[in-house]
């Protein structure tokens, strides 16, 4: 049975919620950033703890294992040098051809590496927090890539020292994409299931789209947020939707969103 103090407390909570929900978006974002910054010392501690644990693990690695790893890294380094030299040559050729046809020169994207410090505690969103913010030159809606260069999401909220990244598969992260086939079929990367973050749905594909499993999906560039040709993933399967009026494809994401430790923020596309 509710008594008078219960009604008073309930009234106060309702008033508090109404006040907060009626604040402007900017004020709410600032308030959220301010409250969230209380956790920064703890995130710092957790990050340092992980680093110490990592170093301790390195200390106990056997010499044989280290030598093997060193050898494999040296091998990989040589391969990458050859690839980089070829890529440089191709880039020069590309620039020459662009000049010849009078096309605009492509600029190199400016990227910033950020560490993932937290995940969304609520199960119904797919967001992470990173350790860079406005003071590092970050702004809302900048694209975010995984460590291996696949699109992971975009910045949705930027405070002074940290930012929130809304990941692919979240209902608030829609990406215009195209399939790298002859017809270059267009669609929208939408939400995924709540449990599996490996796959997302590509919707609004043409009913005549010639899609096959294994075809690459990249950003189409028809958006003010995502530049063209950022790798997203590969087609897994296709099904007709809306009584055959359009097609939807399941796309396996290139970025492993469950194991994002570090991400690249595209400061300049």
């Amino acid at each position: 049975m509710l008594k008078r103090p219960h009604y008073i407390a309930l009234g106060l909570i309702v008033v508090l919620t109404l006040i907060i929900s009626n604040l402007s978006d900017r004020t709410t974002a600032r308030l959220k950033a301010g409250i969230g910054s209380l956790f920064l010392p703890l995130f710092g501690l957790a990050s340092s703890g992980r680093q110490v644990a990592g170093r301790a693990e390195d200390t106990f690695m056997s010499k044989g294992e280290l030598l093997r790893e060193n050898e494999s890294l040296r091998h990989e380094n040589q391969q990458l040098r050859v690839q980089a030299a070829r890529a440089e040559e191709i880039e020069r050729e590309n620039a020459r051809l662009r000049q010849l046809f009078g096309w605009q020169q492509q600029t190199r994207s400016k990227l910033k590496l950020a560490k993932v410090i937290a995940r969304d505690p609520a199960n119904w969103w797919r967001t992470v927090q990173i350790d860079l913010g406005r003071r590092d030159g970050l702004r809302e809606n900048m694209p975010v890539l995984s460590a291996d260069g696949f699109l992971a999401g975009r910045l949705s909220l930027v405070s002074l020292t940290r930012s929130q990244v809304v990941l692919l598969g979240d209902p608030n992260c829609k990406v215009p994409a195209l399939v790298q086939n002859d017809a270059r079929d267009n669609g929208i990367i939408g939400a995924s299931g709540p449990l599996d973050s490996t796959f997302v749905d590509m919707e609004y594909l043409s009913a005549n789209a010639n899609l096959k499993p294994g075809q690459n999906v990249v950003t189409s560039g028809y958006s003010a947020i995502y530049p063209k040709d950022l790798r997203i993933g590969k087609i897994v399967d296709v099904r007709p939707v809306e009584y055959g009026l359009s097609m939807a494809a399941r796309v396996r994401l290139g970025a492993n969103l469950n194991a994002l430790d570090e991400v690249w923020v595209m400061v300049e596309p």
Binding site: I20, I35, L42, A118, A122, W124, W125, G169
Partner: protein, 183 residues
């Protein structure tokens, strides 16, 4: 109001929200992150007064929302409602029984996310939703149910360690003593 108990409850809520955001072992293993605020609310509503329940709902909810994509303040009313229902019926609840704690934890952990999602949907936000949500809800409820008796045990231990018991008053009164024999 027992200030040490209040501070302990609020500190636990702060650490619980931090744990939920920073450590993802349970999420990787079971596909859902367990929410520790409803078990804490069960403990607070059975062992503290209404001010602490309201404080826990307000601060815990705001801390949770600040690290989430939730609109700020959306977690506050569901947490408070759970606490209010338990607090208003606390005389009828066998709070010392582990089974009662388990059942209350289950109910609170099932109700809080459900109410939050309903609130999100009514405020025109579209959270991730599908058959997997049912599994996540079961994980949240069972996880919260297991966490509640643990919470009671932990706070009992902290109370014994930090708060000294009140000296019990003796019922002896010299003026009421029956004197035997002749004086």
């Amino acid at each position: 109001m027992n200030w040490i108990n209040t501070i302990l409850i609020l500190a636990a809520a702060f650490l619980a929200v931090f744990w939920e955001a920073a450590f993802n072992g349970v999420r990787h293993l079971l596909g859902a992150q367990i929410d520790l605020l409803p078990p804490l609310m069960v403990y607070a509503s059975l062992s503290a007064d209404l001010v602490v329940v309201a404080l826990l709902a307000a601060l815990g909810g705001l801390w949770f929302d600040s690290l989430s994509a939730n609109p700020l303040g959306v977690s506050v009313p569901p947490l408070f409602l759970v606490g209010l229902v338990i607090h208003s019926n606390r005389e009828l609840i066998l709070r010392e029984q582990t089974f009662a704690q388990f059942v209350l934890g289950f109910g609170a952990s099932a109700a809080a996310p459900l109410l939050t999602e309903l609130l999100l949907l009514t405020t025109r936000h579209v959270p991730l939703f599908g058959w997997g949500t049912l599994w996540q809800w079961i994980v949240l409820s069972v996880g919260g149910a297991i966490a509640t008796p643990v919470c009671f045990e932990l706070f009992g231990w902290l109370q014994r360690a930090l708060v000294h018991n009140r000296a019990s008053q003796s019922s002896f009164r010299p003026d009421r003593e029956i004197r035997r024999g002749r004086s």
